[in-house]
Amino acid sequence: MLITIIQRDLKCVSQNLSGTIQPLGFFIIIVSLFPLSVTPESEILQRIAPGVIWISALLATLLALDTLFKEDFNDGTIDQMFIAIDSLYVVALARIISHWLISGLPLIIMCLIIAMMLHVPVHTIDALIVSLLLGTPTLSMVGSIGAALTVGLRYSGVLLTMITLPLYIPVLIFGTSCISSDLIGLNWHGQAYLLGAILVLSITLAPFATAAALRINLN
């Protein structure tokens, strides 16, 4: 059932690609604003690169979150799924996974190009990829709680940002410090372990909270 829902979501996306491409375009535009506003010098760009990449990834994830449950909630698809399988947990988990596949995974691939543009050295790429691989699923998990809480509201964009961004701070801290400690030649595995621990914790708890939030709004 989980796989069926994910397949259905991916099929919906493949028929309407602009939903996937827009957050990616947003990501690239945000990143390219930093050299324009701060400095084009390669040394400074390299130093701020971890922060730039992570903040842009955070904002791109938030952009895709707004529509995570909304359309299906408004046209009654979520009600039907709930009736069909009697478990909002599965619906929530499936939706989180497909959200990550649609927004998180392309973002990580795009990061390889972005990293070159920000003069990140090649030996740091593995820290960058690992931190994003461990961090972005957590962003989808935690963000899905916020999306489910605000699903009944018509204009929820700013509110969703307000309640979700403070919860993203640990991922942001460990994700950026993972990359920047590799940049200055320190061991980055500790931060990666912590990111993994946060990911495990959010896999355990976040789908339940998302399901509870959906159930509250369904009533």
């Binding site: 403070p166 919860l167 410090s177 946060i198």
Partner: protein
């Protein structure tokens, strides 16, 4: 509610009567309202008297600090508000959990009333902290771990209140904010330790802390008194807010009409 209990009181086993009836009574809005109207003013007066005593002792009797001179005396406001900000958040989340689990309307009202008070405490802690920072650190703001996690706590309170205001249906709003506050409660320790860890990585030893030797008793006693006073003040303000919430929530019931007519 009360009459039911008095009628069946004799039939209840002794253990149940002693241990849990008091808890169930808090679930009744009219009981809670009467209790809050009785204890709100009392705790308020106690807080006022203790605050005067504590501030007098702190400002006039306690000796000046050997490093910071008299500027440390803001501690008697700053530290209690900072402590309160965190414990108010925990109380908010716990009463939200009670509301979700046992479907108690009163618990949701308590949780909802905690948010603005907690935000105010957090704001006071941030303001007094930065005023204290100017003479001590030479700047109003540094990205110290404690300051930053206090700021994040302020954001969490703001998010709670924003969500509460945005959802029009009262029942949905109280349940949704309850979930949010519980998510925040899980997150607070993670945020706290990550911020502390981030700070030690970046600037560590440059942070001036007033660790030094353990605090003098003549300084500690006024601090404890103002802390107790701040707790009582919180209880008092909370009771006033909860009373308003309960009157609004139960405005169509008989007991509210009786209260209004008295």
């Amino acid at each position: 509610m009360t009459s039911q209990y008095t009628k069946s009181k004799d039939r209840l086993p002794r253990r149940t009567r002693n241990s849990w009836v008091w808890f169930h009574r808090f679930g009744s809005p009219s009981y809670f309202y009467r209790m809050a109207s009785r204890w709100g003013p009392r705790t308020g007066w106690c807080a006022f008297i203790l605050m005067i005593i504590g501030l007098y002792m702190g400002l006039f009797i306690a000796p000046p600090d050997y490093q910071m001179g008299d500027s440390y005396r803001i501690i008697y406001i700053h530290v209690p508000t900072a402590w309160m900000s965190l414990s108010v958040y925990v109380l908010m989340a716990i009463s939200a959990a009670i509301g979700l689990i046992w479907r108690m309307k009163v618990a949701f009202c308590v949780s909802r009333s905690c948010a603005p008070i907690g935000a105010a405490f957090t704001f006071c802690a941030l303001i007094t902290g930065s005023l204290w920072g100017k003479p001590t650190w030479g700047t109003y703001w540094i990205w110290d771990a404690r300051l930053t996690s206090e700021l994040v706590l302020f954001f969490l309170f703001m998010g709670y209140m924003a969500l509460d205001r945005a959802i029009l249906d009262r029942k949905t709003a109280s349940q949704a904010t309850a979930v949010l506050s519980l998510v925040g409660l899980v997150n607070i320790p993670i945020i706290h330790y990550s911020v502390e860890w981030w700070n030690t990585l970046h600037q560590g030893s440059t942070v001036i802390r007033m660790d030094g030797p353990s605090i003098d008793t003549r300084m500690l006693v006024p601090l404890l008194i103002t802390t107790v006073s701040m707790n009582l003040y919180f209880v008092s303000v909370l009771f006033y807010r909860v009373r308003c919430e309960l009157l609004d929530l139960e405005r169509r019931t008989q007991w509210v009409k009786e209260v209004i007519h008295d």
